[in-house]
């Protein structure tokens, strides 16, 4: 393994929009990654451990857990929508600063609307 330089400490930077979206993109990715084993076990246990599945199913349907799932969806959707922005950057598209700011705010608005719809479908 090569020795790569570490990123500078996050707290020495003045917060700017692009930086906040980059950090939240990573945090959202981590949140969804952590949820993956639980979701996989929930799906798979239906076949190999029906009792565990029933317990987990009731747990996921608790109102407080459903509330957690709203944040889970918000994080996933932020990562997805912002990821599309980064994919465009791969081809050097939409890198003009005004475009970057407009798209970033649109991501937030669209995500808020989609999360509201998700919450409505959830309850």
């Amino acid at each position: 393994m090569t020795i790569a330089p570490l990123s500078p400490h996050l707290q020495i930077h003045k917060p700017v929009l692009t930086m906040i979206f980059s950090i939240t993109h990573r945090i959202a990715g981590i949140i969804f990654a952590i949820s993956l084993p639980f979701l996989a076990f929930w799906m798979g246990s239906f076949y190999f451990a029906p009792h565990a599945h029933a317990v987990l199913h009731s747990f996921f349907n608790l109102p407080i857990i459903k509330f957690v799932f709203i944040f889970w969806f918000f994080a996933l959707n932020h990562h997805l929508l912002n990821g599309i922005k980064y994919f465009a950057w791969t081809f050097a598209k939409g890198m003009n600063l005004t475009t970057v700011y407009t798209i970033s705010y649109l991501i937030l608005i669209l995500n808020a609307a989609m999360t509201l719809f998700f919450a409505w479908s959830l309850f």
């Binding site: 393994m1 020795i3 790569a4 570490l6 990123s7 990573r26 990715g29 981590i30 969804f32 990654a33 993956l36 084993p37 979701l39 996989a40 076990f41 929930w42 799906m43 798979g44 246990s45 239906f46 076949y47 190999f48 199913h57 996921f60 349907n61 969806f73 996933l76 997805l80 990821g83 599309i84 994919f87 791969t90 998700f118 479908s121 959830l122």
Partner: protein, 104 residues
Amino acid sequence: MRGSTKWLWQRISAVALVPLSYWFVITFLNLLHASQNQKIDLFSSPLSKFLMVIFFLIAIFHARLGLKTIYEDYFTTSQVKIFSLITDIVLFLTLIAVIPVLFI
């Protein structure tokens, strides 16, 4: 794997995950509200089984690349090795856990 190869695969898997993730969220909502019999119906189609396993396979691959990139950015080489090992074990178990879906 070279850094540029990882970078390329991160993007290829991301493109596949955009439609797959939204399909997964819809299936997740259906499953959450489904009864025992409705769940069997949901998984009885070969397409659902296939998409579910493919989603987890690509999501695990994408998460593995992404998490390791984050470790490499913020942690020392020895810490990266430990965290990567833990990640690999957990993601391997995740894959094992979802395989039974194919037999529903």
